[in-house]
């Protein structure tokens, strides 16, 4: 059985890739995808903990249910996010996050 630490390292990598992407990339569409990656990273660790907490191969399902909730909310978030990106593209002919400075000015 794969030890817990492997899953956690994988989850941390996934999360860091997502975070790094969200910070580095300018394209809002990619940023949205990176956010999804971060959520997935978190989900992986949730499921991993759920397995590790279980006894004799039977996991604790609470955390897995939570993971399902996260996915559902992520789906909703993507729907809203994509709609915003479409609206942004229509308004500005581009989806670069660097162009979003009008609130500061």
């Amino acid at each position: 059985m794969t030890p817990l630490s492997h899953y956690l390292i994988f989850s941390a990598l996934l999360f860091s890739v997502g975070l790094g992407g969200a910070i580095i990339r300018r394209n809002v569409l990619v940023v949205l995808m990176c956010l999804e990656l971060m959520l997935t990273g978190a989900n992986v660790s949730l499921v991993a903990f759920s397995r590790a907490q279980g006894l004799e191969g039977v996991p604790v399902y609470d955390a897995q249910v939570l993971a399902l909730f996260v996915m559902a909310i992520a789906a909703a978030e993507v729907a809203v996010g994509l709609a915003l990106i479409v609206a942004m593209f229509r308004a500005r002919r581009g989806v670069e996050s660097t162009s979003l400075t009008s609130l500061k000015d």
Binding site: S97, T98, L100, T101, K104
Partner: protein, 616 residues
């Protein structure tokens, strides 16, 4: 229920004042009648109590309890307070009625005037009936306030507004001492109720703090009774309407200081007034009596002469208090109240009839124009200068007698000198204003006063004559168990008569000549002594320059340094600068780049996590 009837003494005038002020502000005569009804009702009530009506002890009202000390307000109904109430409400009623005639044709708001009088009646009753120093103090401040209102009644005149301010501020100085005195008394006796003080006297006796407490309380009396060095407000208070001067600044309020001290002597016992305290009180009284009698000799304003004479008589009363002769002090207070109210009201009638002319050198010959008023004035004068047979004679005798009994020869001599001066300035006033011929057109046209003014005058004139005789005084002098002493052929009588003859004769010699009476200025006015007296011995000027001009200016400087340097610069501007600087620093973070925000947020979360890991 019935035992709380005495509270009407306070409630009635207060309600009258409120009604006058709030409801009848535009109905002057309705307001006047409300005030008059209230004061006459209290007078009737007072007479009923003096005739032996019993309603039991009025209940106390507990204001607020502090641990084991209850701050309660209550009324004290004894001979001292009830007979004093008779003086207050009696003169109050006459002054209210007189005011009807005096204020007729005056354009100012009469509702305000009568509301002020009613507030005064309320506050004075507070002082007189108080059963503890607390209620006395409340009334004390309230009379100061009502006096302020009434002196400044004609507030559009600068002099009146200034005089009102001066009276109020000068009184505050005395009141501060009074407050400290009250606290010292509370500390020493553990109670402020007059009735309990004697019981706690054992604890306080012999303590040096006791002298300090008495002297601090005396400070209050110095302010309210206008004793030297706080006497400066009283002559200026004459800017108010004359009936107000009669009621407040001659007969009742200014006597409150004397009343309060006598109340303390009665409740604490004479032991409380240590030798030092008595010496200070008597000396201050004597100095006031002498200085103000001197200043009165060179005043040209009829009301100011009377004001200085009030000061000087108050000095007599203080002297008697200091000589531990509360009886004599209250006797003089009581006779003085009647005859000084009479003098002021008569002066008021004269002023009205001369079209608001107050300078005696612009009157003259009034005895033919308004004989009844002048006769009343003369009755008051005779009482004031202690002509045998008039009320002032008996009370002044009793004070001089007290000085002699205590073997205090300096005070006795001073009293006699002041009596001579009193005769001098009053005879001077009467000669100039009433004899000879009219010096101005206004005096020429003067006519007898209206009946609303004459009736109070006549009543007061009768009282000024008879109130000193035993059969009246024994009943009415505000002092428990007072008995008017028989006049004896002794040193006092001869000294008093001598003072009368010397003072009167000197005035007659200086001012009685037909040539002088025809002139329009004081023949003595030019010499330096007289100039100094006219300038009030430069005491007011000294206060103006040294206290107001000097100390106050330094203080203003100091305060403005504090205000400008610390509050405005350091706190006001400094804080603003600090905030702006921090704001600019933090503002840099808000770069407008979405990625920057993301980075910062994640760094922040990292830092928080680190802290959590390190701590737990």
């Amino acid at each position: 229920m019935m035992q709380n009837l005495p509270w009407l003494f306070l409630v009635l005038p207060l309600v009258a004042a409120a009604v006058d002020w709030l409801i009848l502000a535009r109905r002057p005569w309705a307001a006047a009648s409300v005030s008059i009804i209230s004061v006459i009702t209290t007078l009737m009530l007072c007479i009923a109590y003096l005739c032996g009506m019993q309603t039991g002890t009025p209940s106390n009202y507990v204001w607020f309890p502090v641990q084991d000390f209850d701050l309660s307000l209550g009324l004290l109904m004894d001979a001292l307070s009830m007979k004093m109430m008779l003086v207050v409400t009696g003169i109050g009623a006459l002054v209210h009625i007189f005011s009807l005639g005096y204020m007729k044709g005056d354009p100012s708001n009469h509702s305000r005037y009568f509301a002020g009088l009613s507030i005064f009646m309320f506050s004075m009753s507070c002082i007189v009936l108080a059963n503890s120093l607390i209620l006395t103090f409340i009334g004390w401040e309230m009379v100061g306030f009502s006096s302020y209102l009434l002196i400044g009644h004609w507030y559009h005149k600068d002099s009146a507004a200034d005089a009102a301010k001066k009276a109020f501020i000068t009184n505050r100085v005395g009141d501060f001492g009074f407050l400290i005195g009250i606290l010292l008394t509370l500390g020493l006796f553990g109670t402020l109720h007059y009735a309990d003080m004697a019981g706690h006297m054992k604890v306080a006796e012999g303590s040096p703090v006791l002298t300090a407490a008495i002297l601090c309380l005396f400070c209050g009396a110095v302010g309210k009774s206008a004793q030297f060095p706080l006497h400066v407000w009283l002559p200026d208070a004459m800017e108010g309407p004359t009936p107000v001067s009669a009621l407040i600044h001659a007969a009742t309020m200014v006597a409150a200081g004397v009343y309060m001290l006598v109340r303390l002597q009665v409740s604490m016992g004479l032991v409380a007034f240590t030798e030092t305290a008595c010496c200070v009180i008597a000396s201050v009284g004597a100095i006031t009596a002498l200085l103000s009698a001197l200043m009165a000799t060179q005043q040209d304003d009829i009301k100011r002469v009377l004001a200085y004479s009030t000061l000087s008589q108050l000095g007599y009363m203080m002297m008697a208090v200091g000589l531990l002769a509360g009886q004599a002090a209250m006797f003089h207070l009581y006779t003085h109240a009647w005859f000084k109210a009479l003098l002021f009201l008569a002066a008021g009638a004269i002023i009205v009839c001369c079209h608001h002319e107050q300078d005696i050198w612009k009157m003259g010959g009034l005895r033919k124009k308004m004989p009844v008023t002048v006769l009343c004035f003369l009755a008051g004068t005779c009482a004031l200068i202690a002509v045998p047979g008039f009320s002032g004679f008996f009370s002044k005798e009793s004070i001089l007698e007290a000085a002699l009994e205590r073997n205090n020869v300096p005070l006795f001599v001073l009293g006699v000198v002041v009596a001579a001066l009193t005769t001098f300035y009053m005879v001077r006033l009467c000669l100039i204003a009433f004899c000879g011929h009219a010096r101005t057109h206004e005096a020429e046209q003067a006519q007898e006063a209206a009946p609303t003014m004459l009736v109070p005058l006549l009543i007061l004139a009768v009282l000024a004559i008879i109130s000193g005789y035993g059969f009246v005084a024994d009943q009415l002098v505000p002092y428990g168990g007072f008995h008017a002493a028989d006049t004896e052929w002794g040193v006092t009588l001869f000294a008093g008569l001598g003072a009368l003859i010397v003072g009167g004769g000197l005035a007659w010699l200086l001012y009685g000549k037909p040539g002088t009476l025809a002139g329009k200025t004081d023949p003595l006015g030019a010499n330096p002594v007289s100039r100094a007296l006219r300038q009030r011995l430069y005491i007011d000027a000294f206060y103006d320059h040294v206290l107001v001009g000097g100390v106050q200016r330094w203080f203003t400087c100091l305060v403005s340094c504090l205000d400008d340097g610390i509050i405005r610069r350091l706190i006001g501007q400094g804080l603003a600068l600090l905030t702006a600087w921090v704001g600019r620093l933090l503002g840099r973070i808000q770069g407008g780049s979405l990625r920057g925000y993301t980075l910062l947020t994640s760094l922040g979360v990292l830092v928080l996590m680190l802290i959590l890991i390190l701590l737990f």
